[in-house]
């Protein structure tokens, strides 16, 4: 079974703090993703990475950065947390496929972040 783990299930931070969310996958997947999930808005892609040290912006990258130093680990960084970043953050991974036939994404349990 594919395992995607996230460092925390719940996190409470104060406005202005630097926040690190960690994600680890154990299936040697090339692609990794960070989403935020908000009621009525579904999943919105923040950043994704298709290789070590490679990253691409998603639809809502503002206020976030990412780091991928090792293949199995993808970190989301909130440089200066704000209250509008209170949300559920989901990490996912998927294998590389030139034909796109194996693009199933596997999700972690999520981190519910509250910024006060």
């Amino acid at each position: 079974d594919v395992k995607v783990t996230q460092s925390s299930r719940y996190l409470v931070k104060r406005t202005g703090e630097k926040v690190f969310l960690e994600c680890v996958q154990d299936m040697d997947h090339e692609n990794m993703f960070w989403y935020r999930q908000d009621p009525g808005l579904g999943l919105r892609l923040i950043y994704f990475s298709y290789d070590v040290k490679m990253k691409e912006k998603g639809d809502i990258p503002e206020g976030y950065s990412v780091s991928r130093e090792k293949k199995e680990r993808f970190s989301l960084i909130l440089e200066s947390a704000s209250t509008n970043q209170t949300s559920m953050y989901l990490c996912a991974s998927s294998p590389y496929s030139l034909a796109g036939a194996s693009d199933t994404q596997y999700f972690g349990p999520g981190t519910r972040l509250t910024v006060l």
């Binding site: 692609n31 009525g40 989901l90 294998p95 496929s97 030139l98 034909a99 796109g100 199933t104």
Partner: protein, 115 residues
């Protein structure tokens, strides 16, 4: 703009009722299609997927979905829902040949099944 539309935000059914959740996408070209489900307190998991072949695909727990290319649709169905199907359902699309594996998600449909 590229988008995935789920027509119903919240669906409420009684047990044994039939279910159909709509999903339309606006991409040209060949796509892979997915339905994901998120049960209360659990992580998002794959319900079913379509890559090629028979446009009627069967997934877990008695769900199925039909890809109608001419309508750009991939509707999810179940003939008789159970209380345990209460969950949020997300439709997603991937553009075939995209090496980056990006999925585009709809906004989700919350299904509530009353016993």
């Amino acid at each position: 703009a590229q988008s995935v539309s789920q027509h119903n935000h919240h669906v409420i059914l009684s047990e044994a009722a039939s279910l159909e959740l709509g999903c339309n996408y606006s991409y040209g070209g060949t796509v892979n299609l997915f339905w994901y489900v998120q049960y209360p307190g659990q992580h998002l998991q794959l319900l079913l997927k379509y890559f090629s072949g028979d446009p009627l695909v069967k997934g877990i727990k008695g769900f199925e979905a039909e890809f109608i290319k001419s309508k750009f649709s991939f509707n999810l169905r179940k003939p008789s829902v159970q209380w345990s199907d209460t969950a949020e359902y997300f439709c997603a699309v991937n553009k075939r040949g995209s090496t980056l594996g990006r999925l585009y998600f709809g906004r989700g449909t919350q299904l509530t099944v009353w016993p």
